[in-house]
Amino acid sequence: MTDLNKLYKQQVLAHNKTPHNYGEPDHWTHHAEGLNAICGDQVHVYLNIEDDVIKAAHFAGDSCAISMASASMMTELIAEKTTFEALHLFAAFKQMMSAEGLDQAETVLGDVACLVSVKKFPSRIKSALLCWYALNAAIHGQATTTTE
């Protein structure tokens, strides 16, 4: 498989075409917007946090396939996790996408680990990271964030 096919693997294309947990929910307690103005990626993350547990996570926005798939998979992964666990996953994802990398990423991040292929396209790493930074911002009560 070429690097390009690894980047746009079926899993990514499927999440892009039919994103999970997409759209602003009726009820949410925490929200942040991730905006990469130069490339045009925009992701809103909506969390419903009860007793420090993320009961539901949704996202909305207009983004490239990498950003959409990353957000779709992230919202699935963090549901029913405590905010502490979610922040741990944020740190793990960031590490996976860094030069250092993350051992046994699949054990920690599940399906999300497939996005490691984005590392072959350095200009696109910021797209994959955007929803995670928005998650981090939402948990910490910041309104906006960017990865540019």
Binding site: L4, L7, N16, G40, S63, C64, A65, I66
Partner: protein, 400 residues
Amino acid sequence: MLREAFPCLHQQVNGKDLVYFDNAATAMRPQVVIDAVNDYYCHNNANIHRGVHCLSGRATDLYEQARGSLARLINAPSPDNLIFVRGCTEGVNLVAQTFVRERLQPGDEILISHLEHHSNIVPWQILCQQTGARLKVIPMNERGELVLDQLDELMTERTKFMSVIHVSNALGTINPVKELVAKAHAKDIPVMVDGAQATPHLKVDVQDIGCDFYTVSGHKMYGPTGSGVLYGKATHLESMPPYHGGGEMISKVTFEETVYNKVPAKFEAGTPNIAGGIGLGAAAEFILDVGIEAIAEREDVLKLYTEQALKTVKGLRILGEAAHKSPVFSFLIDGIHPHDIGTIIDHHGVAIRTGHHCTMPIFQFFDVPGSCRASLAFYNTEQEVDILVESLNQAKAMFS
């Protein structure tokens, strides 16, 4: 063939022959420009306008010859009408702060257009904050052309300056700048034209256009980055205060007072981008040698071919279809974000730009976050356009 004169075009990226369609971001440089920069550093390296020694004399001559070449390119009355600047951005800021600022009272108006690059919006917003003036905008239509019906109402007695882009970097629209200048001058409104995207593609004659100021960007017209010139009418340049204070722009300095140098040195404080200026002069000579008419003719053929070719891609929408435009194509493909298209076709060796192209208000008008932009130059080929179309179809297949 002239294409051979551009060394950077001849390479492979991602295992494919490079197809360079990002000319509106920055053009390639011909070998004569690279040689001019290289020769200055290798054989004539010295500061200008201040040494009695041989090299300084040579460097000064080359720099001033470059000013003369630029004056010929845009038909300025004299080389002294041209100030070397870093690019159009600096030219706009210079005029805003040294010519327009002192003319403004709170409530006065500055007129720009919906097609402006951020560099011809933000300096005016800063000026408005400094003076209490207001920014007004000439609207555009769905085709990406300026709507001139309301011009009489937009140009009021409070309008103290107008600044408009000659050729849109995002959509390619060529604006009727001569007509705009005539209408503004009828109401005593001075006008600046941002020519960043014009000099590489069109015959520019500042005296025919009649504008008060005109900006030229070096790197868009096959010259070095960080180079450019600002044209100004002599009476304006004489009356304007300096922009930057420092060396070179003075004729006498004591601790009590400073007597400024004559125009254009008055506006050229400090050691300038000497190599860049000399390289830009070589770029102007290159365009004069090839002939801007020949360049425009070739680009018209390429433009029509590209338009037809892009229209064969199902689901592709071109933004901006002005009757008069340069070979710039902003487009969207249903269901694929521009960023993904950019990455996929880069894998086929095709370089385009994706995003808002420093013209966010244009994309707010079309209600999209950005676009793909293929911007061509005369050295591009029909075969390269075919490769673009093939790579776009592959992107579509991938996302189908």
